[in-house]
Symmetry: C2
Amino acid sequence: MGRRALRFLLLSFLAPWATIALRPALRALGSLHLPTNPTSLPAVAKNYSVLYFQQKVDHFGFNTVKTFNQRYLVADKYWKENGGSILFYTGNEGDIIWFCNNTGFMWDVAEELKAMLVFAEHRYYGESLPFGDSSFKGSRHLNFLTSEQALADFAELIKHLKRTIPGAENQPVIAIGGSYGGMLAAWFRMKYPHMVVGALAASAPIWQFEDLVPCGVFMKIVTTDFRKSGPHCSESIRRSWDAINRLSSTGSGLQWLSEAFHLCSPLTSEDIQHLKDWISETWVNLAMVDYPYASNFLQPLPAWPIKVACQYLKNPNVSDLLLLQNIFQALNVYYNYSGQAKCLNISETATGSLGTLGWSYQACTEVVMPFCTNGVDDMFEPHSWNLKELSDDCFQQWGVRPRPSWITTMYGGKNISSHTNIVFR
Amino acid sequence: MGRRALRFLLLSFLAPWATIALRPALRALGSLHLPTNPTSLPAVAKNYSVLYFQQKVDHFGFNTVKTFNQRYLVADKYWKENGGSILFYTGNEGDIIWFCNNTGFMWDVAEELKAMLVFAEHRYYGESLPFGDSSFKGSRHLNFLTSEQALADFAELIKHLKRTIPGAENQPVIAIGGSYGGMLAAWFRMKYPHMVVGALAASAPIWQFEDLVPCGVFMKIVTTDFRKSGPHCSESIRRSWDAINRLSSTGSGLQWLSEAFHLCSPLTSEDIQHLKDWISETWVNLAMVDYPYASNFLQPLPAWPIKVACQYLKNPNVSDLLLLQNIFQALNVYYNYSGQAKCLNISETATGSLGTLGWSYQACTEVVMPFCTNGVDDMFEPHSWNLKELSDDCFQQWGVRPRPSWITTMYGGKNISSHTNIVFR
């Protein structure tokens, strides 16, 4: 049981049906900041000040008076007191500097909008830790990691900025975010319309809760990206799972796999699910950063990286060994485009700037997004959505159980027609 | 110091500048349910079911799994599954049955709107106690007494009703409340517009925070009510304070006062501030229930009770003794209209159905409403608004300190133009 739970918990970072919707942000934000030369990133110098604002740990209760320092970044090169605006990035589950450096859109439009750029770090990520090193120690310390508290942080910070920056008080503020941060931007406009005149919510899966959309839809879209990026590409991936299963049934197969995939540690039979989850998340990540220009967000990548990976996956009708060698080549586009990787580590799929611990807790409490696959409408192994299993694993890891319907209760699900000025894209 | 703090804490229930805005609800609700015969209450039989719904003690954190039973009342005599509606009373600081029996408007319109009436009790009031008898023991137990938690209770309850009552799912819900409950109705529509199509917020002082309105405006309006209800009425009251001060400087004066006012306990010189606060709150209460028909909400009263009281206060130019005898007659309209009172108790100004403990905590945390008087624009003794003193007294009583700007941050202050379908009256 311990082993099984452990595997699931790893899976909650590695496998798409547990957590990947955290990061789709960036595709849309990417397409928003389309540079004039689509093969390179926009070359805007990112100069900003790093600042801190004292926040209450608990906005919704008065029993604790504890505070912490929320980090935020301000870039005001193009800001004008008169006729300007404030673009407010509603930070999501990672280091705010990393998001700041990868949200080109805001930098691109700063001059035109005479905008002050503000990037607010989400509590429990980056340096904004309510209990310092103890922040992730148990459900008592994690109790204040919720979207509601994060939105209240944003509200208090905006009030602070308007109060303290001369000329800012009457300027319009626009919330901007991607992925979970896009949800936050939308929710912020919904809950605090007095704070922001509007929100740009990029790749914000606000309906990826309960049964608002079919649980398989996300992975189906990922599959479509691969299917359209090269002949037989998604079919090759779909067939790879059984090939891995067959090979991993023998010791020599495991050894071959470890070597063929250039893994840093040799596989045991118990690692196989983990391996497949890692590969699955790699495809999902590729879909999320399939930008039309070279980029370096989750990994250094060429333009249209799925197309590049699919060049290795043109023929699904080959032997298991050849198919998996091709899979490795495709994985290598993601993990070793720079040519620097000595071996591949199946415990990592992306930058360490993402806050995996914090996100794991959020996925175990409020942000319960059902994902599933069936291997028919998508290219993944079938995996149903199992709330009971998630709940038990969450209880074992964090001592909490998810409340899958809460986000819909709080933010309205599909019944959001009374809100205005929220751009979803 | 102990004595002083104690006196202030009593004052926080007895004196208008600390708490009276809690109850102005009822005047507007009263005028809403104007009966055809304005000298009597509408005679609608109030038949309802008493029900309970299991609520989470903490909607905004996952560390506790504790629940409690929220009481609510349902009256569905006129309800129609098709074409009907749900009127949802957002319970405020008292026993919900008492509010139910005194919100005639909802009963009056039930048939016309084919409405189901639902009266939801506010947590920490009436029977809806999150920690039972321990609910008011210390800031740890009181930590979940906030407007945000109460609104979340309402949201969960409405979801429950729509899920479990056949035909209710697609019916429009309208939030209705008065005074603090009127604020809750308005805030509920602001924060959960997916739950209610609109709100009727009666006598809801949503701007009685920070400096959104001058702190003296409420007491000025009370004074105007008295000034317009009889010649020299407010002037008589204005002069009464100094008369009390002069009389209470001697032992014989104290004794005379105790007897003239028919007090249950004889006054000491330390009770004088308390006495004046009690009288002040009486005038405020009269203003809040100055209905055009006989009623029995805070006390049994005649129609237009201020006019009746002012009949005793026509001449301010009399001796202290005569002036205060007249004041007693006026007080008696409020405290002894039934003729049943044997003596007057300066620790009580209204029904015990109000939850004074819970409200005291709320006034010490979120619901920080600045009130003040100057004795010129109003008929009361001058009393400035002193946040520091309030904070220290709150800390001594509850171990918490108020956050006076939080309500504005949360609910928008005057910047609420993006909301719709909220009727303030």
